[in-house]
């Protein structure tokens, strides 16, 4: 049997150009969307109430930049606290001791189940609950004691609230990562004689980290934005600085635009860092799914 029976040898398919299908529906949708977007941009640029010149004047204002720095500081500290504490909580959730599992579940239930704003206010007012603390042996000698009101500044309350709230979310991320590692990898680790602690640190954790990097990136973005909530207790982060300035000048909208711009710049920066880390890890292990 000849394979080419049905093909006319004179017909050269390579020289025949194939034009794309004419999709008028798609063309119409694209046109409408472009018009709507252009109109929106025009209305934003044209609306004097945005106060673009004032936005420009305040974008690099010293107070705004100081607020931005504090926002970064709070984000980084809360993330580190959340990650360390979150790994501990995840390990407790997966521990063979039912008491530890239960304790971790209780923590997550409490800190994930209440609004961050409420937690921030609680920490800021904690001195009403515990006016003073002391470090020492119960009913024994005191080594150090202090006035809670002076220890828990707005900054400390903000760090505590953001970090402890974040730990609850991070522990779920880490737990999912650990559980997402293929069971065969753990069995292989045991089969070559590694102790369970070695299996965890040399096999499970390195693979779990790669799985949770995208989720940690998401959490970083969430923390950065949520840090604006601590403006309610007067921690002078980005939003608070904007509020201070418009409280003085009554230029509310332009200053909110300034804050918005900086939040977007920061989130974009975090996204780029996240992408870079993901690519670095991928290159390091050239790890394809098996």
């Amino acid at each position: 049997m000849k394979i080419n029976d049905s093909v006319d040898p004179k017909e050269d398919l390579d020289t025949q150009r194939v034009l794309p299908h004419r999709n008028f529906g798609l063309l119409t949708i694209n046109t409408i969307v472009v018009i709507v977007v252009l109109l929106t941009i025009y209305s934003v640029a044209d609306n004097k109430n945005y106060g673009w010149p004032i936005v420009g004047e305040n974008l690099f204002d010293g107070l705004v930049l100081k607020g931005l720095m504090l926002t970064f500081e709070l984000t980084v500290i809360a993330l580190i606290l959340g990650l360390i504490f979150g790994v501990c909580l995840a390990l407790m959730r997966l521990h063979q001791s039912s008491v530890l599992r239960w304790l971790a579940a209780l923590y997550i239930w409490l800190f994930r189940g209440t609004p961050l704003l409420v937690q921030i206010l609680f920490w800021y007012n904690i001195s009403a609950l515990y006016p003073s603390i002391r470090i020492g042996i119960p009913w024994g000698p005191t080594f150090w004691s202090g006035n809670v009101n002076s220890i828990i500044t707005a900054f400390v309350a903000a760090v505590l609230a953001l970090g402890l709230h974040e730990a609850a979310f991070m522990s779920e991320v880490v737990r999912a990562g650990i559980q997402g590692v293929d069971g065969g990898q753990i069995e292989a680790g045991k089969a070559v004689g590694l102790r369970s602690r070695q299996v965890f640190f040399m096999v499970t954790l390195p693979q779990a980290i790669r799985l949770i990097i995208p989720a940690i990136g998401n959490r970083a973005i969430a923390v950065l934005k949520d840090s604006s909530l601590v403006s309610v207790i007067g921690a002078a982060e980005l939003l608070f600085s904007a509020e201070v300035i418009y409280g003085r000048t009554y230029q509310t909208i332009p200053l909110l635009v300034v804050a918005t711009i900086w939040y977007l710049v920061s989130v974009t920066l975090l996204t780029l860092i996240q992408r870079y880390i993901e690519r670095m890890l991928a290159n390091k292990a050239r790890n394809a799914d098996e």
């Binding site: 293929d182 065969g184 990898q185 069995e187 292989a188 680790g189 045991k190 089969a191 070559v192 004689g193 590694l194 102790r195 369970s196 070695q198 040399m202 096999v203 390195p206 693979q207 790669r210 292990a285 050239r286 790890n287 394809a288 098996e290």
Partner: protein, 262 residues
Amino acid sequence: MNKTRETGNAVITIKNATKSYGRHVVFSNLSVEVEEGGVLCIIGPSGTGKSTLLRCINRLEVLDKGAVYIDGERVGCKKEGNHYRTLAEDAIAKQRQKTGMVFQQFNLFKHLSVMDNITLAPRKVLGLSDSEARQIAVGLLQRVGLSDKAKAYPSELSGGQKQRIAIARALAMKPKVMLFDEPTSALDPELVGEVLTVMKSLAAEGMTMVIVTHEMSFARNVATAIAFMDGGSIAAYGTPQEVLDHPSNPRVRQFLSAIEYS
């Protein structure tokens, strides 16, 4: 050394082993022994507990009743007066050094290079130096014919190459016994041969092996004993000639004709 032996001279002794998942009894009251240098091939229909039995030998699964002894030492338990007590995790990990295991799905450490896959346990468990462990790995890579792959990552290897590296990884711990859990079942047909060749040479060198397999001609050529598992027990046991060539058990005959082995 023989003072501590709790069994006869066999390297592996499985005594009255029973395992069930919930109400489902996988196997019950099953006993079998493997002599030094013996190659036991476990064959039989799927779902009859062949892999489970294998995984009980190095305590990846725990028997409900009965016992496994390697070198006369009970796996996972220690004699304490006139009863037994379960060993701590670390002690069980130490016992696992005596058994190398090769999995159907290879299970190479995905995040490590071939070299690190092989040297991880010798370094971390046996405490060998980097150069000592590397020396062992180089020899093993040569032996499985993959000297050029030391720097490769598992995802860059074919199935047959992965399985040969997995064998090298297990051998690096100088085990007394090698356990193979359907080592060629996940391979493309043209890659099966290279893995079986390595296993044959191991058997020829006198390695004690337990192999769960569907490769009948391999079992026929290499096994010193064949156990046919069916219905939660060893339905037929003997030399390859006895079990495969002149099967007296009708279930063995039915199984062999179903997989078109003649």
